[in-house]
């Protein structure tokens, strides 16, 4: 592609871990040697066929990949425009895309001789995936989760405990995902010898954004051949995915970045609306560049550089930043980013249940709400692929509350 003088959108990051001005390694000196070691070990593993053979085996036999690419006929008919395909990553073991990445990091951790795994979690999906893979390999697992999220995602907290993980409720700050990440970093800086930090999204210091993206890119690679099979060799016309930190979106988008005919849309959480009240999590639409959690990216912050709390009905999108590669794709114009409000996501959630018999998580409900907006305006031969990145079982209590349904029996 020749736009902006960029030959390829797929070669980043550079040696400093940068995507344009975004990314980098903004961590304390204590962690710096660990991050350099991780980078070296990952670079080695990446080119080792044995590493990928182990991944492929577990993806197939433990996770259940490839996940189906499902044509949604009634949704398509109802909206009366573009053909809608759903990438069914909610059918993965543990019910979300998170396990794609966790497997990669845990296999790497085992190669590095680490015996203790720590993770942060928002909605609890990454925490459950990490607890699951740790149980499978007999590794000690500690999950940091904001106290507020512990409350609104109780089923996932119980799952993690069943799987043998220690769940630590984080009360610092306001007790959401950002605070959980702070406490996970504090743990890592304390337990440097035996501990591996398994980050759940395409953010954090280099090499995490690139590494997590590489593990999640299985999503987009599968879509490429699955759609070619089902639609006579065609590429998708539009890709749509929800974004908190942005790992499911990066996984869907990355294999298509150098296909200029493919329109790429990321959907941020608009909460109660993207305006001056700042009751949203739309870092790209309502934030500006700053440095947090090891990387430079778009952040929700005040004029003095203090980080603001996001707001979203979806705990998984409730993060004031976004992966640095998304920040770069936004600034270069290769991908576009929009926002969807809580109310719009709730409507999409219900429509999906009613028309396709799929209970989506609140996160992909945001992506679906955008599909609902654009599909009617597009021709019938236009193909939209949306990432159904998680199932909604964990969210039924939240949704019931918002719809005024009494869950007490």
């Amino acid at each position: 592609m020749a736009e902006d003088g960029i030959n390829s959108y797929m070669t980043g990051p550079d040696e400093q871990g940068r995507f344009g001005i975004f990314g980098g390694r903004f961590v304390s000196e204590t962690l710096m040697p660990l991050i350099l070691d991780l980078e070296a070990r990952y670079e080695h593993a990446k080119t080792d066929p044995d590493f990928w053979a182990e991944m492929d085996d577990l993806w197939k036999n433990y996770v259940g990949r490839p996940s189906p690419l499902y044509f949604a006929p009634r949704l398509t008919e109802h909206l009366g425009g573009a053909k809608i395909y759903l990438k069914r990553d909610e059918l993965n073991h543990t019910g979300a895309h998170k396990i794609n990445n966790v497997l990669g990091q845990i296999i790497l951790a085992r190669r590095m001789g680490k015996t203790r795994i720590i993770a942060e979690t928002g909605a609890g999906q990454h925490g459950v995936a990490t607890a699951t893979v740790c149980a499978k390999f007999g590794l000690k697992c500690v999950v940091y989760m904001g106290a507020h999220d512990v409350e609104r995602q109780a089923p996932n907290v119980f799952r993690m405990r069943l799987l043998g993980a220690e769940v630590v409720p984080v009360t610092s700050g306001r007790g959401t995902l950002k605070d959980a990440m702070n406490d996970a970093l504090r743990d890592w800086v304390t337990n440097v010898r035996d501990t591996f930090y398994c980050i759940g999204t395409v953010a954090g210091p280099h090499p995490y954004p690139a590494m997590v993206r590489d593990f999640q890119s299985i999503i987009g690679r599968e879509v490429r051949w699955q759609l070619a099979e089902q639609e006579e060799g065609r590429l998708p016309d539009t890709l749509v995915a929800a974004i908190g930190g942005g790992s499911n979106a990066m996984g869907l988008f990355h294999p298509f970045l150098d296909d200029p005919s493919v329109r790429i849309v990321g959907v941020e959480a608009g909460g109660k609306g993207v305006d001056d009240r700042m009751e949203h999590c739309a870092s790209l639409t309502g934030g500006r560049p700053g440095v947090l959690h090891g990387n430079r990216t778009y952040l929700l912050q005040d004029a003095d550089g203090q980080i603001l709390e996001g707001f979203s009905i979806s705990a998984g999108l409730d993060y004031p930043g976004i992966g640095p590669e998304h920040a770069w794709l936004h600034d270069t114009g290769r991908a576009e980013y929009v926002s969807i409000t809580d109310a719009e996501a709730l409507e999409a959630f219900q429509l999906c249940c009613a028309l396709e018999g799929i209970i989506p998580a609140l996160e992909p409900s945001h992506a679906l709400a955008h599909v609902i907006k654009i599909a009617p305006t597009l021709p019938r031969d236009h193909i939209i692929v949306m990432n159904m990145c998680g199932r909604g079982d964990k969210d039924i209590f939240t949704v019931a509350k918002h719809l005024g349904f009494d869950m007490k029996i």
Binding site: Q16, G24, R25, F26, V27, S28, E29, T30, L31, M32, P33, L34, S172, G173, K178, N182, L185, R186, V189, T190, N191, V192, G290, V291, L292, H293, G294, R296, L299, Q301, A303, D304, G305, Q306, I307
Partner: protein
């Protein structure tokens, strides 16, 4: 030659170790923290570390975290922290002030603007926790060009292969973090730290100051004794957090300083 360099030259001539005290700017309000700051030199503090509050202090334990929250809730901003420095400098031209914190509030201000304001206000050095040598172009090199010391943390994970990179572009002094962990955590043991300090001193002519996990005058004496001085932060900030009167906080600082100076 900065105030920091002058201070170490004076201490060396007197055969004394340096005592460095950390306080959080604006904790719990600007007036109280300025009153504490003004009393530090007389309490025996050789170098003041002035914390810049940040919402997400990833390297700090609960004591410093809550101090930052109190300051922010009290309306502290970078502008007010710089005002505090100017007010202190109006009465004290000698005691070095090192601003310590995280990069984002500086980045939000704009590096050029911040450096101009900081030098004008009378700041002597910077410690920015989340800027390792790999990110020197961001602030370290511009700060040195502006005449400020850029003080780096060396840690137990900084091995000999990496040490030269950490010492390069460092000035003023080297801050040795005596434990792997967050501020105010486990107690540092002089016997464990001594070989590490010796390793760093063999690689640089800069003074080496030890910090993290020092809470008593005895520990201050032990740790200062194996280095060129020591830093105490959480133990002082904790008293402010408990709402102790300024005089009581300064009495404790004086006891800690006496410990370090007895080394």
């Amino acid at each position: 030659m900065t105030r920091i360099d002058d201070t170490f030259r004076r201490l060396r001539a007197e055969g004394k170790k340096a005592f460095v005290a950390y306080i959080m700017a604006g904790d719990p309000d600007l007036e109280t923290s300025l009153a504490v700051m003004r009393g530090l030199p007389e309490a025996g503090v050789d170098i003041i570390e002035l914390g810049m509050p940040f919402t997400d202090p990833m390297a700090d334990g609960p004591t410093i975290q809550t101090a930052g929250q109190r300051a922010l809730e009290g309306g502290q901003t970078l502008t007010r922290t710089l005002e505090m420095v100017r007010a202190f400098r109006a009465e004290n031209a000698e005691t070095p002030i090192v601003m310590m914190g995280y990069y984002n509030p500086i980045y939000a201000r704009g590096v050029e603007t911040f450096l101009a304001e900081a030098t004008e206000a009378g700041i002597d050095g910077l410690i920015v926790v989340d800027l390792p040598p790999e990110e020197d172009a961001e602030l370290c090199l511009p700060a040195q060009a502006a005449g400020l010391n850029f003080i780096r943390l060396a840690t137990p994970t900084t091995d000999s292969r990496r040490l030269p990179k950490v010492l390069q572009n460092t000035s003023g002094f080297v801050y040795y973090v005596s434990i792997t962990g967050i501020t105010g955590a486990a107690a540092a043991q002089a016997a464990d730290v001594a070989p590490e300090v010796a390793r760093i001193k063999a690689a640089t002519d800069l003074p080496v100051i030890v910090g993290f996990g020092i809470t008593t005058p005895e520990a201050a004496q032990d740790l200062a004794g194996i280095a060129d001085g020591c830093v105490v932060g959480s133990a002082i900030v904790k008293l402010v957090g408990e709402g102790r009167p300024v005089a009581e906080v300064l009495d404790r600082v004086a006891a800690l300083a006496a410990g370090a100076h007895a080394a």
